[in-house]
Symmetry: C2
Subunit: 367 residues, 2 copies
């Protein structure tokens, strides 16, 4: 199990009930607004988007999809409270960040050829590639619309931060794709990619509510620093789950990241470690790169020629070379940096404790 | 030739030299800023975008691509002057509108399976579908970034108008795709789709410079009305070129729109006209729809099973049913509405004359 025990840190134990309540509040406040925004889309995009969010099934019948963990909406509401305004002020920010996040999921699933997300067929599988592109575009545009129609100076500042984060997100996906086709990726390159792909939007989620509430740039920057490192911790755990996660929990295939030749943290750390297991892993990956060299991304990045046993061998080599242990430690390091960043600004004690609890939750999750 | 003679209207004759100079000024002022913006993209997206704009060839060598007609930048600069400020004030607007326009071209070419644009292979053909998606996303994000980093209240208002236009553009593409798979589309539905797909962004181009120059909402709305109807005139001519255009001029295949089963204006007008040619056309298109029913868009919307003679038959039936004549008249009608809209606001006489000259140019162009 890729949970990261916190016995060796001084972080407080996670108050699960509190985190559950925070995530639930995020859903309760943001989801009605998110649904209202999505309902503005012209048919059939509204239906395709509703399928993506898990609100309806492939036949259009209402479904009880959970729409993901909803960490970002919870953070956007806490962000407003960190700036001393009501959680509700953060709602348009929560909706905008969720829209950008889901725009990227729709496009990434198509580019990566991923057929499953959250235990369901992905949009391009069900509704075709064109709808996946189009609805992704529409959600991205809608994100800016939801903010800018507030018509305030703060909304303009929030949109600017969201746009910067979106560009980094796209840069990160470009790096992720190019790394799949490279034999060697350094740990630093991987961390930069993950900072762009995951850190930037989580950082924006944690600053956007405060910005909408009139916080100054310094407060927003400090909150972004917390969010950025939280994102790196989040992604380190995701990388562990991408190899050793339980498909029942993650909703993805076994060895999901290995199937796609992702140069995720455990892989690059194992390759950088040196030693027999590291070298054997490098040989196997180099051989894969040769046999897959005529591969085209978008709809099918799978290493379908491999058996379960071959993936198990790669996973075992990564673990033996120390890639798993290093990534678990990295999740704890980023968690600690995130929590420490909060010391630089004043905020209500309750909000600070809740941001810490959310950070704890992110590193112990199993999906 | 699908040129629309203006002999039966009272519009002034086009001053070709003047329009050429206007387009050239738009290019000269906006292109360096556009190149600087695109250069910010992370590799390999910067290279892919440079290929798309025609600045380099598929091997990365510098190329003398013209990057299209550049009508939108010319309009954005005139827009600033219409509000009484220097043309240069409109430059970030010109760049942002060009970025959104090219985002939509990248994604539409992939969704429509178009292999050629401006006499060159499209991005998805050369660099793969993933890069076409990713670079489109990046240009869309960059458009908002270019405006919002101005940091002014006017920039926020301009971004809001651009976002609204972008959403309409996406709605229009969704309608366009869904119409290809429908047997009947009314003239009204087609005009609504073309208003979204072409009118909205041209409208934004004509208002964005003025908004950046501090124009009030009424001035911006009037300029948008001119731009919207100009867009409908532009699209009517495009629809004529899509069937009867010279591939040498357009850079597209012969019968381009018929190959893709586009329900463009000449087609829907012919179907709505009634009479023997209209009915025969309806029978042929209904038969096409049945044989193509298992068709999936994205990479391949072509009716490849048809011969040149079969496309020629369809084109002849559209013309016989009156679809061509009706669309030529529609281009003139929309041109007249556009020009008349300008009467509602004050602006320098020279700027008004140039906006009229650009409108004239749009309806007589052959590419």
């Amino acid at each position: 199990m890729p949970t990261v025990p916190s016995a060796d840190t001084t972080a407080p134990a996670v108050d699960v009930a509190d985190v559950t309540a925070l995530l639930e509040r995020g859903r309760a406040l943001a989801m009605p607004e998110l649904r209202a925004a999505v309902a503005r889309l012209a048919p059939p995009m509204d239906t395709v988007a509703a399928y993506h969010f898990g609100w309806i099934d492939a036949e259009g019948r209402p479904a009880a999809g959970d729409g993901g963990k909803a960490v970002r909406p919870a953070l956007a509401l806490l962000s407003a409270e960190a700036a001393g305004v009501a959680a509700e002020v953060g709602v348009p920010g929560a909706v905008a960040v969720e829209l950008v996040h889901n725009f990227s999921l729709l496009h990434d699933d198509l580019m990566d050829g991923d057929e499953q997300r959250r235990h369901r067929d992905t949009v391009w599988k069900v509704h075709g590639p064109a709808q996946a592109i189009l609805v992704g575009d529409a959600l991205f545009a809608l994100a800016n619309e939801v903010l800018l129609e507030l018509g305030t100076v703060e909304a303009g500042r929030a949109t600017r931060r969201l746009t910067t984060a979106s560009r980094k997100l796209i840069d990160g996906q470009a790096q992720d794709i190019s790394y799949e086709h490279r034999e060697r990726v350094s740990v630093e390159e991987c961390l930069e990619m993950e900072g762009n792909k995951t850190g930037a939007l989580l950082a924006c989620a944690v600053s956007i509510g405060a910005v909408l509430g009139g916080a100054d740039d310094r407060t927003a920057d400090v909150l972004e620093a917390y969010g950025y490192h939280l994102g790196l911790a989040f992604q380190a755990v995701d990388d562990l789950l991408g190899i050793w996660g339980d498909p029942e929990s993650t909703g993805k295939q076994t060895w999901s990241d290995l199937r796609q030749r992702k140069k995720s943290l455990p892989v690059v750390a194992a390759l950088a470690a040196g030693g027999p297991a590291s070298e054997r892993l490098a040989e196997l990956l180099a051989a894969d790169a040769v046999t897959e060299s005529d591969d085209q991304p978008a709809a099918g990045g799978d290493s379908d020629g491999f058996t379960e046993a071959e993936f198990a061998t790669r996973a075992a080599l990564i673990e033996e070379a120390g890639g798993r242990t290093w990534t678990e430690a990295e999740a704890r390091r980023q968690h600690a940096v995130a929590v420490r960043a909060l010391d630089a600004i004043d905020m209500p004690d309750r909000v600070r404790a809740q941001l810490v609890a959310l950070a704890d939750f992110v590193v112990v999750r199993t999906r």
